[in-house]
């Protein structure tokens, strides 16, 4: 039965990836395109300045894939692969959560799980280290930035799991509502503490258009909402059917 759940999660995840691609292709690619135009203009200006100063301009990095490939089949592949990964992970979390998240049916369990996962895996890490469009970010600091991003993600996952365990212990003593509030308060204290002590990353070029930055980050959030939302809702049905069927 669990293998069946994972298979259904995998398929549902691929479908969610296709949906996210539809959204990204129609709306998100605009801000990516604007950012890349800005990046090219900056590179050209740098080159011109180097030539004017009598220096040899840096050799242009060779283009491996055209923009058409990157914004088409490349984007599709990336989103579908992530969707499939999210779907498999989701099926496992659902197998653990169903019947253990209180008196919810499988549909609401899947929906809650999707909401909590979206918050934990994307929203909280992105509040500290928001998504950046092309041309934002120093290539030299990629290791540092990747490390901090995944560290923030790990802290967020640990905080959510900690809050869940804490709530379970408190509910018996203080009741469902009070126990939940205390657990949420403890969660917020931990998350805000790490927001404050982890170093900030501020590498947006001063002349980068603020509107493009905002639109890109909004597009990134909506991409993640589509991925997790679609997986949660579709898995509510697919998982329920798997539970109802025989092994």
């Amino acid at each position: 039965m669990i293998g069946n759940l994972v298979l259904r999660g995998f398929i549902v995840g691929i479908l969610a990836g296709l949906l996210a691609f539809g959204w990204a292709k129609v709306f998100a690619e605009r801000s990516i395109g604007t950012a890349i135009t800005f990046e090219s203009a900056q590179d050209q200006a740098k080159e011109a300045a180097a030539v004017a100063a009598g220096r040899q301009p840096e050799p242009e990095a060779q283009e491996i894939f055209s923009r058409t490939v990157q914004s088409g089949i490349g984007l599709l592949t990336g989103l579908v692969v992530i969707g499939a990964g999210i779907g498999c992970l989701f099926a496992i979390m659902f197998a653990f959560a169903n019947g253990r998240l209180g008196d919810l049916g499988p549909g609401p369990t899947a929906a809650w799980l999707a909401f909590l996962s979206l918050m934990t895996v994307y929203v909280i890490p992105a509040l500290k280290y928001p998504a950046n469009p092309p041309s934002v970010g120093e290539p030299a600091t990629i290791k540092y930035r990747t490390g901090l991003y995944f560290l923030m993600m790990a802290i967020s996952i640990a905080a959510t799991m900690g809050a869940y365990l804490l709530r379970r212990r408190l509910v018996g003593r203080y009741g469902s509502w009070n126990g939940s509030l205390i657990a949420i308060a403890a969660y917020l204290v931990v998350v805000i503490f790490f927001f404050l002590i982890l170093p900030g990353i501020n590498e947006v070029p001063p002349t980068f258009p603020a509107v493009t930055l905002y639109n890109f980050r909004l597009a990134s959030l909506i991409t993640q909402i589509i991925l997790w939302g679609a997986v949660g809702v579709m898995f509510g049905y697919a998982g329920t059917a798997a539970l109802a069927g025989k092994d």
């Binding site: 039965m1 669990i2 293998g3 759940l5 994972v6 999660g9 995998f10 990204a24 998100a28 690619e29 990516i32 491996i64 894939f65 490939v69 990157q70 914004s71 490349g74 984007l75 592949t77 990336g78 989103l79 692969v81 992530i82 990964g85 999210i86 498999c88 992970l89 496992i92 197998a95 653990f96 169903n98 019947g99 253990r100 008196d103 049916g105 499988p106 994307y122 890490p125 992105a126 280290y129 998504a131 950046n132 469009p133 092309p134 970010g137 990629i142 290791k143 930035r145 990747t146 991003y149 995944f150 890109f216 597009a219 990134s220 991409t223 993640q224 049905y237 329920t240 539970l243 109802a244």
Partner: protein, 75 residues
Amino acid sequence: MSEVDHKSIATVMDIPLQVSIPVKRILPWAIVGALIAVLAFYFVGAEQGATHLISGMGIHEFVHDARHLLGFPCH
């Protein structure tokens, strides 16, 4: 979707399915599921960025837009 499909889904959703699956039975599958998820996140999110298993920039450049859009650090 036909009327019949609607009914069958509604019926399926109404069956109480609160049964929690024993953790022991989930664990082997949890490893499989987690492995697929980690591979997906790694190759779309970080390969040929901060670190690499395969040399070159092919994977990085191919999934470039998805990596940016999903919020992973890129470049």
